[in-house]
């Protein structure tokens, strides 16, 4: 999932203090699962904004919403419609940065503010803890490293084994951080494939990662399918 963490209530308040009708929108997928921007967090943020407005003597109405996903047009359409209908003059999105962008581009002159800090692609190995497991680099090499990612899980994204900073399975940056390469070596020993680490991985082509500029995936067959008349599309199915 995309892991996010809520910004401070003071920050969120500062974004919207000058607006009279604010809509706080949660996101029902990743942000909900990582307990940062689901229905109950929408409720908490809205309540805090109302209390602050009252305490400071500001006229501000705070409305609440939570949609399934803020990254898909069909779900976002309802929010756009509501903003227009209820004359909302600012939106706080409790989605990841994708949701904020996606809403912002569709809301004309109504500003959208981020209620979360988007952290990483990760998972929750134990309650209350989330860890990064994928860097979204666009060219997966997990088949070479026993399913454990050196790009996301080595602090230096090294490709040819652990640096000299590996210490008792921990990384030189912190005793709380596992050394990604120690995990890879251990895993490949168990799989009996340690000898594969003898291959020297050449310098990587980072153009598939964020370093190559904003990325897009285009699948022409799906585009064509969507462009065809509905009946014909149905017939193909």
């Amino acid at each position: 999932m995309i892991v996010a963490e809520r910004k401070s209530l003071a920050d969120i308040k500062s974004f919207v203090a000058g607006f009279e009708r604010v809509l706080v929108v949660g996101c029902g997928t990743c942000a909900t699962v990582c307990l940062a921007g689901g229905e109950s967090e929408v409720n908490v943020v809205s309540l805090a904004l109302r209390i602050a407005a009252r305490a400071e003597g500001r006229r501000q109405e705070v409305l609440e919403d939570c949609i399934t996903r803020q990254c898909e047009p069909e779900f976002v359409a309802a929010v756009i419609e509501r903003v227009r209908r209820q004359e909302i003059d600012a939106v706080v999105s409790l989605a990841c940065g994708v949701g904020v962008n996606f809403l912002a581009e569709r809301l004309g002159d109504v500003p959208v503010f981020p209620g979360l800090d988007t952290k990483f692609l990760g998972a929750s190995p134990e309650p209350g803890v989330w860890v990064e497991l994928c860097a979204g680099c666009g060219n997966c090499i997990l088949h070479l490293t026993g399913g454990i990612c050196p790009i996301a899980r080595c602090s230096k994204s090294l490709l040819n084994g652990p640096c000299g900073g590996s210490n008792n399975g921990k990384c030189e940056i912190s005793p709380d951080v596992d050394c990604g390469w120690a995990l890879i070596v251990e895993r490949m020993k168990r799989l009996g494939t340690l000898d594969r680490l003898m291959d020297i991985l050449p310098p990587r082509d980072w153009s598939s990662s964020a370093h190559g500029g904003p990325r897009r995936v285009v699948r022409e067959e799906l585009r064509q399918l969507a462009a065809e008349p509905a009946e014909k599309g149905a017939a193909v199915r």
């Binding site: 230096k156 000299g164 900073g165 940056i173 390469w181 680490l197 020297i200 991985l201």
Partner: protein, 327 residues
């Protein structure tokens, strides 16, 4: 000869090589570097110039290397992958070669969160690069030097004659992977290896045995790292906090005895420990020299460089051999 560097010539002539380390200052005072150079002249075959070690901003390794060359010392320019992408690294390698630098040590570099292990502020909020890793850096340098080709594939006319170094942390975790990683560095094209500081000579010798069984000692010149201990606190710190450094209890006991012999006299305790530290360093050098496959030592007297001549003299390494460039 790949580089005709003094270090390469000394090793090629079969001598036991000695390198030492010079840490550049945190400001632009070149006199500090020149002063260290004058102090150390003649006591080693080449001198490593660190590249913002422990992720602290210091005078650049290229500039410092050129400064010590003015004093007649040969530098080993350290080059980390932390602060430069492959474009900047290759540009600097070419520039270094043009300035007359003939040795380059390829390393990953301490993570920017280090900040001298918390002793200085450093720049923990910096964005790191790590476009390539140290093994890839070795192979890129070899490509420039031996194939006249940049990493991207473009050909170059004049090839940089650099003697290629890499580091080895023989006692680093995971310890059984370390000889394999050394083998990768050798295969990538390393000419010489400087190891992380060795105190646990028994474990080092076991790792060297594995390296010898793989034939690595014949393909690369391994220089054992010796970090001169100054006091008990330093040994304890290195044992517990420096990855890949293990200090046997016996050495810590010796240092504790030296300290305690001074009783309540703190100044004397300091002197005693420093003397014991120098003795330990000379003994470690001797043990490293007796280890089959070891072809030199790399001395690190951190913030204590002026003691290097004394150590080298006691170890019987003086005078250093002079091998004419034409040999």
């Amino acid at each position: 000869m790949r580089s005709s560097s003094n270090l390469e010539r000394v090793l090629a002539a079969g001598h036991f090589a000695v390198t030492a380390e010079i840490g550049p200052p945190m400001d632009c005072n070149g006199e500090v570097v020149l002063e260290k150079a004058r102090l150390l002249r003649g006591c080693a075959d080449a001198f490593n110039i660190t590249d913002c070690q422990t992720a602290v901003v210091r005078m650049s390794s290229i500039a410092s290397a050129v400064l010590i060359m003015r004093e007649g010392l040969e530098p080993v320019m350290q080059m980390t992958c932390r602060d430069r992408n492959r474009i900047a690294i290759q540009a600097d390698l070419l520039g270094a070669a043009a300035l007359g630098i003939r040795n380059c040590l390829c390393i990953a570099g301490d993570h920017q969160s280090f900040g001298a292990a918390g002793k200085l502020k450093g720049h923990p909020g910096a964005k790191n690069v790590y476009d390539i890793d140290s093994i890839q850096l070795v192979s890129i340098l070899k490509g420039l030097r031996d194939e006249g080709r940049q990493q991207g594939g473009d050909e170059i006319e004049m090839r940089p004659p650099l003697f290629i170094g890499a580091v080895w942390t023989p006692m680093g975790d995971p310890v059984d992977f370390r000889p394999l990683r050394l083998a990768k560095k050798v295969r990538a094209g390393a000419d010489f290896i400087q190891t992380q500081g060795v105190y646990d000579m028994a474990l080092f010798r076991r790792q060297m045995q594995i390296a010898r069984d793989m034939g690595l000692h014949e393909r690369v010149a391994i220089l054992a790292g010796i970090i001169v201990p100054r006091n008990l606190g330093m040994l304890k710190y290195m044992d517990s906090a420096v990855a890949g450094v293990r200090v046997p209890q016996e050495l810590m006991t010796r240092m504790a005895k030296a300290r305690d012999a001074a009783g309540a006299d703190k100044a004397q305790a300091r002197v005693n420990q420093e003397q014991e530290g120098l003795r330990i360093a000379v003994e470690l050098i001797e043990q490293a020299r007796e280890t089959p496959g070891v072809r030199g030592v790399h001395l690190q007297a951190i913030e204590w460089e002026h003691k290097v001549p004394e150590i080298v003299a006691q170890a019987g390494f003086l005078p250093r051999p002079v091998i004419p460039a034409s040999a």
